[in-house]
Symmetry: C2
Subunit: 168 residues, 2 copies
DNA sequence: TTAAACTTTCAAAACTTTTTGAAAGTTTAA
DNA sequence: TTAAACTTTCAAAAAGTTTTGAAAGTTTAA
């Protein structure tokens, strides 16, 4: 396969993966494009390469900055803004985990905590089943949360070494 | 909070979480409803409680069975089909991880493997950047895959005990 | 100041996904 | 057989999401 085709394929795949993971397709594609660009790109260049509108490009770039995945850069003597992506895959994974934890896990845990407080008669099957599911899921969510927290604070090397060895 | 309100809230939250995680809202809501039902429910009951159409209910129930999250049950002497959810949270997490691994991770790894094979001149920054990102992401994806595989094969208890201790 | 170069906004349009509901299909009991 | 009870299908409609592009806003250099 030739480099240009490979690049296109990479952008396409990353976009698809993104849309399965709550990051929208264009956002993931712009990210992919910046990931494989040795130099920072302008809005104009991104619009052209991915054939997207100015408005879309601007919004997407802003979102990506919000996710901590890309940064603005200014070249001395130039008015234009350049964008570049952090190329460190471990950082990317960490950022995504961090954001999703904040955006999705935290609100759910808040609701579950509230729902765990509901009281009732344990001999009432309606209550008992509700209560068991809610408490179990709450425990699971808290466990995941704690795990993420620890992972985010941990150092990079254990990851590349393979966490999985620990479960053997 | 009163039990009925709590149930509604649980179904709503689970639905929201589902839609952020690639499982559609109705599917997650039906699952939530079955999770907190002490007894199996019929299509009719589910339609009524969640105010969804017959077609939608039928499709959703089929999908949930496909994900391994619920099962059909027959009551002796009755024509109707009843549905019930596995209430074991660890099983639920395992099933979801298993399915997503198969549906999403595997195809990506396949593409990345292909893209890793692309050759070029390492002094060409275009190639070098592309290659580094692709290989790094490939390593990450494989690592996640391996971790999932091990987790899925592992026993339940280490999870409830808290994996996170291992990262301390 | 001014105007050129650039960025941001947002209502409307395009596209995608989900849901509906009526019709077709299947199973069972009599 | 038949018909009632139930399940499945799928084209069209509704709902939800993303994208466009023109207009408004901002910054900078002169």
């Amino acid at each position: 396969m030739e480099l240009e085709e490979a690049k296109r394929k990479f952008i396409e795949s990353w976009g698809k993966l993104g849309s399965e993971w709550g990051i929208n397709r264009t956002m993931a594609q712009v990210h992919a494009l910046l990931l494989i660009s040795p130099d920072p790109l302008t809005t104009e260049e991104i619009m052209e390469t991915l054939r997207i509108s100015r408005g879309n490009a601007n919004m997407t770039l802003r979102d990506l900055i919000g996710w901590g995945l890309i940064e603005k850069q200014h070249k001395p003597g130039e008015r234009k803004e350049y964008f570049f992506a952090d190329k460190d895959v471990w950082n990317i994974a960490k950022q995504v985990a961090k954001e999703r934890r904040k955006r999705e896990l935290e609100p759910v845990i808040k609701v579950l905590d509230e729902l765990s407080k509901v009281t009732g008669d344990d001999r009432d099957p309606e209550f008992a089943t509700f209560n068991k599911s809610v408490t179990d899921i709450n425990k699971l969510a808290k466990n995941v949360d704690k795990t993420l927290e620890t992972m985010l604070g941990a150092e990079e090397n254990w990851f590349w070494g393979g966490i999985f060895k620990m479960f053997k």
